[in-house]
């Protein structure tokens, strides 16, 4: 993917749309397939390397309409099955193609509460767009209809125009629900439960709500103000928000129910426990979990060194270990913080990388250097205990494993040294054990995830859970979907 200037992209879209509108006959499927894929206008890589502003600038209205016209309105709509919350994709694309963006967002909002977020961060190429007929016909998933980009466009438009309707709230029931955590799962539960007229109180450990969307995913991918507006919408609905409140410590879950009178609890505490590699040198100065690195930069605003009190390590050469979204975010943050060279070390090849395709492309454009089929073996330091280099070993791909991915196999004797001063470990997160540890009878798996039934209920009565704490590190839209399900169960339970 090479970078094209936003002006060129938008001009082309204007011309193409004019040509389509002038016709009097509807478009044939063949003509739809011939409409060029609308590329996302983005900041110039050379410029954005030095700022934290959003990389993807969003479609123009003409681009949004053209992209929507690429949709063939398939009868069976295979894309819908790929969306974890089952958005009526052909429905909203039809409206958007006609330029009726308000109807488009209304269709989306029937299923999704966070379209501006999901349109930006959903791994569309393995969800809705994976099954798209257009992508199949053009033999490239990246040329499927860009469902997420149109979703983002109509959500942004509604927000910017201040057109979002405040939801109707049923009369107060006098019932009270505690929501623990304030990530996408919790935000969804809070909205759905509040709408039924129940009192909702969110308890968040951090000083700011939003979960991973504010502490993990960087500003250049998901501007904080978008998340904040979702939170503001909740408080406008009458949802109470208590920050700096860590359930299990400030108050135990059982006390919330038995002493503070909550009728039900939702646990949406995420997968916040960073995994380390367990290799030599991992506690040297200059080794960070991606969580720490990203939290310092995002939540604590350390990137804004002139104003923030929280420091962040200034690095020259950085190695990021991992291949998911978290690794991309850490690598791209390191670039923006001024590192001269940033390497991404991944055990398999690009094909197996779990990160979103767009993030990988953006990271490359920004100069991140990808090392495939390599893995860290040992971190070496100087007498001050600071990182000086990383010993790596090369891999080749062997037989497919249980997940169907070809298993990387170490090549004996292929060790080599990589000179770095910083190592960021981004190999995933486990679940935070605090609530299970302080709540008797709450059943968890051996990986620490809370066990729930098909309604989202845990082993405890009136206690529900969802999102990463149940699924393990997953996605925003899955967390939201889990929240929807749990909220429905909570509402049903409280109706009894």
């Amino acid at each position: 993917m090479s970078h094209s200037s936003p002006d060129i992209l938008m001009d082309a879209a204007r011309r193409d749309l004019d040509a389509v509108i002038k016709r009097d006959k509807p478009l044939t499927p063949k003509e739809r397939l011939a409409i060029p894929c609308q590329e996302m206008p983005a900041q110039d890589p050379a410029v954005r390397r030095g700022n934290m502003q959003e990389v993807a600038l969003g479609y123009s209205p003409e681009q949004a309409r053209l992209e929507s016209m690429r949709c063939l309105q398939c009868k069976n709509a295979p894309c819908v099955a790929g969306c974890p919350v089952g958005i009526d994709i052909p429905g909203f694309l039809k409206a958007a193609a006609e330029g009726d963006f308000q109807s488009a967002i209304e269709v989306i909002k029937r299923n999704s509460l966070l379209p501006a977020v999901c349109g930006r961060v959903c791994p569309q190429e393995v969800q809705c767009q994976e099954h798209c007929t257009v992508g199949k016909a053009l033999k490239d998933v990246n040329r499927a209809v860009s469902i997420g980009r149109v979703e983002r466009f109509v959500a942004d438009l509604e927000r910017e125009r201040g057109a979002a309707q405040a939801p109707v709230i049923h009369p107060e029931t006098g019932k009270k629900v505690a929501v623990i955590g304030s990530g996408p799962a919790s935000i969804t539960v809070a909205a759905d439960v509040r709408r039924e007229g129940h009192k909702v109180v969110i308890f968040e450990a951090f000083h700011k709500p939003g979960g991973v969307m504010v502490y993990g995913i960087p500003e250049f991918r998901l501007p904080k103000r978008i998340v904040q507006e979702e939170i503001d919408a909740l408080t406008a609905m009458g949802v109470e928000l208590h920050t700096n409140f860590v359930v299990g410590r400030t108050r135990r879950l059982k006390d919330l129910m038995e002493k503070d009178g909550f009728d039900a609890v939702f646990i949406g505490t995420g997968a916040g426990l960073p995994k380390f590699m367990g290799i030599e040198g991992e506690n040297l100065v200059g080794v960070f979990s991606a969580n720490e690195y990203l939290t310092r930069s995002n939540l604590m605003r350390a990137y804004d060194a002139a104003r923030a009190d929280t420091p962040i390590y200034r690095s020259r050469k950085v190695a990021v270990l991992g291949g998911g979204n978290v690794a991309m975010d850490a690598a791209r943050t390191a670039v923006r913080l001024g590192a001269a060279e940033v390497y991404l070390v991944y055990r398999r090849t690009e094909v197996e990388m779990p990160a979103r395709v767009e993030e990988i492309a953006h990271a490359k454009e920004e100069g991140v250097i990808f090392h495939y089929l390599e893995n860290a073996r040992r971190i070496c330091g100087d007498d001050q205990g600071c990182v000086t280099s990383l010993e790596c070993v090369r891999y080749e791909l062997g037989e497919p494993d249980a997940s169907g991915r070809r298993r990387p196999v170490e090549i004996k004797g292929s060790e080599f040294m990589m000179e770095v001063d910083t190592v960021i470990v981004a190999i995933g997160n486990d679940s935070n054990p605090l609530i299970p540890r302080t709540t008797d009878g709450l059943k968890i798996t051996k990986w620490g995830n809370i066990i729930v039934d098909e309604t989202g209920k845990t082993s405890l009565d009136r206690v529900f859970a969802g999102g990463d704490i149940v699924l393990g590190a997953a996605t925003v839209i899955l967390a939201m979907g889990e929240g929807r399900r749990a909220a429905a169960s909570i509402n049903a339970k409280l109706r009894e």
């Binding site: 108050r251 960073p274 935070n432």
Partner: protein, 286 residues
């Protein structure tokens, strides 16, 4: 928002503050700490031990030394002003039971976190020996409180301005050499002091608890910034600690990690002093 209810300067660079925090005051137990932030937009999150709590008033007491940017800004807070965020109580409470004889060693500001533990140990029926050390007389804090608790109190200063002229490790070794030897040692203070206290008790096989003061961010186990090596394993001080078996802690690694942001912080601290100097001059001119 947490209101400052009382403020007292204990020594040149040590301040005691009582802060409104009813939920924390209700739940906290000895050994636990809070994380505070003066400003939610750009402030830093720093951990401080809960030196005492009053559940009736709904307040907690903090005792801190002004070492850098945030502690200096905190020291500037007056009664009636607010701290924007206080999170807690965090960490595992101290394991308190009747051990027999417990020797508590506090170095400098470490006496503050030591006080609630000493109190708990005493209340559990232990014989309590307290060793307090400071560089000089003026830096000794909570002397009266400790005197009231301890069955035996030993004070030492580096310059001999009060008590014995020695390091705390010297009386600690003597106490360990007594018969019967103490059943438990608790040492809290600068990392280097805790390291040598652990070395002092090791030959006597006196179990030794230390309370680690690593750099932290969230305090809930989310970032791993507070990690230390204990007995060859990585532990998170904020959730697994802050107290650990002193004989197992890799203090050298911990001390290096504490200096990770030194170049950055020295600059910020310098800046902060410049600003307070300017402020002071301006006040004088008024």
């Amino acid at each position: 928002m947490n209101k400052v209810l009382a403020r007292e300067q204990l020594s040149a660079d040590v301040v005691m503050m009582r802060v409104e925090a009813p939920l924390i005051a209700r739940e906290r137990r000895p050994g636990q700490f809070i994380i505070l932030q003066l400003n939610n937009e750009f402030g830093e999150r720093i951990p401080l031990t809960i030196a005492d709590a009053d559940p009736v008033e709904g307040s907690i007491t903090l005792i801190f030394q002004t070492v850098g940017l945030t502690t200096h800004k905190l020291a500037d807070k007056r009664v009636g002003e607010f701290i924007e965020s206080v999170l807690g109580p965090l960490g595992q409470p101290t394991h308190i039971e009747k051990f027999g004889t417990v020797v508590c060693v506090g170095g400098g500001i470490g006496v503050a976190p030591l006080h609630p533990i000493a109190k708990g140990m005493k209340e559990a029926g232990n014989k309590l020996i307290v060793i307090m050390g400071a560089r000089t007389k003026e830096l000794l804090v909570l002397e009266d409180q400790m005197r009231n608790l301890a069955d035996e109190l030993i004070i030492c200063t580096d310059d001999g301005s009060v008590g014995r002229k020695c390091l705390v490790t010297e009386p600690l070794k003597e106490v360990c050499g007594r018969r019967p030897k103490p059943d438990l040692a608790v040492a809290i203070g600068p990392p280097i002091m805790m390291k040598f206290c652990a070395e002092a008790t090791r030959p006597f096989a006196v179990p030794t608890v230390v309370s680690l003061n690593t750099i932290m961010i969230d305090g809930t186990g989310m970032c791993g910034g507070c990690r230390v090596t204990v007995g060859g394993h990585t532990k998170f001080v904020c959730v697994d600690g802050p107290e650990f078996d002193g004989h197992q802690v890799d203090f050298d690694n911990m001390m290096k990690r504490l200096r990770a942001y030194k170049p950055h912080e020295d600059k910020a601290h310098h800046q902060c002093h410049l600003e307070s100097e300017i402020e002071l001059k301006e006040k004088k001119q008024l």
